[in-house]
């Protein structure tokens, strides 16, 4: 165990309207076993004692599953180690390092304060079609429909998305294709998702476009930044499903 001394370059912005800027802070005596957010806690405790406003950032579960934490570290959302920021540990850094900390940036994610952004747009995409429209209490027995294990596993892999928005923040075009396609793939793969498949795909893509996200240019930056290993195979599947959905809607083939 060792202690680190670091220089932080942090984006500070009082609110959505204010002018933002990078400010420099010293983080001293940081245990290398601490998590990245605990490092910020230590810095913030120091700031509060000096009577200064602490650095605001989103965080909640601190075990890598809620998807609330959202820092862009040295230009890469979550720091690019295939974990969420809260699971990033200081042993990944060296004594004397300078670390740039910025919010998740995209026009569709308006900044709220410092490092906090509003990711409601992702909820809106789900509301457009990321569900199976069944009523509570109307479900048949769970074992009535057998599902191939590989299919179920693939659906799970897509469903593992935590909705953090790192895909959007890392994308050079701020596209939400990985997020949208992961939810679409999760439901489109399963037999339960079939009745609404075309409707879902068309609605989710339309909503995604309307919210001002960019367009995918197949650079796969999202996949590399994703803390949950969601693959761009889902994007390929969404493209495929979208073509099929458009074709069958246009021609009137309802399989």
């Amino acid at each position: 165990m060792a202690n680190l001394n670091l220089t932080l370059k942090v984006w500070r912005q009082e609110n959505a309207q204010a002018q933002g800027r990078i400010e420099t802070y010293k983080a001293t005596n940081i245990p290398d076993e601490a998590s990245f957010l605990e490092m910020l806690d230590i810095v913030n405790e120091g700031l509060v004692h000096e009577g200064k406003e602490p650095i605001h950032f989103d965080h909640d579960c601190r075990e890598g599953i809620c998807g609330m934490c959202s820092l862009t570290i040295n230009g890469v959302p979550h720091g690019g180690k295939h974990v969420t920021t809260c699971q990033l540990h200081m042993r990944q850094f060296k004594d004397g390092d300078t670390i740039w900390i910025e919010p998740f940036r995209a026009k569709a994610f308006p900044l709220l304060r410092d490092l906090m952004v509003d990711r409601t747009a992702l909820d809106n995409i789900i509301a457009a079609g990321g569900f199976v429209d069944i009523r509570t209490g109307s479900a048949p027995n769970a074992n009535n429909v057998p599902i191939r294990k590989k299919t179920a596993d693939a659906a799970f892999d897509a469903a593992a998305c935590i909705g953090c928005g790192a895909c959007v923040a890392s994308c050079k075009n701020s596209s939400a294709m990985l997020f949208t396609s992961a939810k679409a793939a999760h439901l489109n793969l399963l037999p339960q998702g079939q009745p609404e498949k075309n409707k879902r795909v068309l609605a989710m893509v339309q909503q995604m476009d309307a919210l001002g996200f960019g367009n995918c240019t197949n650079q796969y930056e999202c996949e590399a930044a994703c803390p949950k290993g969601i693959t761009v195979d889902n994007i390929a599947k969404l493209n495929r499903d979208y073509m099929i959905a458009c074709a069958s809607e246009a021609v009137g083939v309802y399989s």
Binding site: K9, W11, I22, T72, N74, G75, V76, G80, W100, E102, R105, A106, K107, A108, S170, K172, N173, S174, S175, M177, L202, V205, Q206, M208, D209, G212, F213, G214, N215, C216, T217, N218, Q219, Y220, E221, E223, A224, A225, T231, V232, D233, I235, A236, K237, L238, N239, R240, D241, Y242, M243, C246, E249, A250, V251, G252
Partner: protein, 223 residues
């Protein structure tokens, strides 16, 4: 009928629909490239021994001997495909630019240089295309293509421009080819490395062969 039109309109205004059109037009342009390359390779047939027409001249006159309406239909078709490809790309690019807020410290994990410079290389190729058409198509003589090409490439500036443009084409194709599979939904994690190999091989072979012409002219192999 209404359904078809409404769906088509939605398709061509949606992000995925337009990407698919870019991919499909890109694919057509790649096919053209292959055809064009095959024609160009006739230059290595050299002049026929009897001092008659060269291989490439016969190819060129052959092309010109097809009915004018067909020739122009192909030309206009290609132009339309090109304009759709370029136009849609520029619109998408503009949208992407406005969708993004920039970082003070930019970081990149995986995006290749080729993928990040698609518009730049595309513009280079487009500019080159204009020059290329002006120099060899509109100011050329189909009956003496061979010497015209030789003359053009003996100018080192002209060759250099050609080579740089083809390098841009390589970059463009390297990202474009594998991107087509992804956009058309034919990609999976298992097969992705294969697409990358196809993209690079395609780029190397096609661009290598294109570049071989000015290189051979400059080194005197073709004379």
């Amino acid at each position: 009928m209404n359904d078809i039109i409404t769906t088509a309109c939605k398709f061509v205004t949606s992000s995925i629909g337009r990407k698919i059109l870019v991919a499909l037009t890109g694919m057509c342009l790649l096919l053209f490239l292959v055809g064009h390359l095959a024609g160009n390779m006739t230059i290595f047939g050299g002049l026929s021994p009897e001092g008659g027409t060269s291989w490439i001249d016969s190819y060129a006159t052959g092309l010109h001997s097809m009915p004018a309406w067909l020739l122009w239909a192909i030309r206009l078709g290609l132009l339309a495909i090109l304009l759709v490809h370029v136009g849609l790309t520029l619109i998408l690019k503009y949208e992407n630019y406005t969708a993004r807020t920039h970082y003070q410290m930019e970081g990149t994990l995986k995006a290749t240089l080729a993928s990040r410079t698609m518009v730049l290389t595309g513009v280079m190729i487009f500019a080159f295309l204009g020059f290329h058409l002006w120099q060899l198509t509109f100011n050329g003589d189909p009956h003496d293509c061979y010497h015209h090409i030789l003359a053009a490439f003996q100018n080192p500036w002209c060759s250099a421009f050609y080579i740089v443009a083809i390098c841009c084409l390589f970059m463009h194709v390297r990202h474009g080819v594998q991107s087509i599979f992804q956009t058309l939904g034919l990609n999976t994690r298992k097969i992705r490395p294969l697409y990358n190999i196809i993209a690079i091989l395609f780029g190397v072979v096609v661009c290598g062969l294109f570049i071989s012409i000015p290189v051979c002219v400059l080194t005197g192999i073709l004379h």
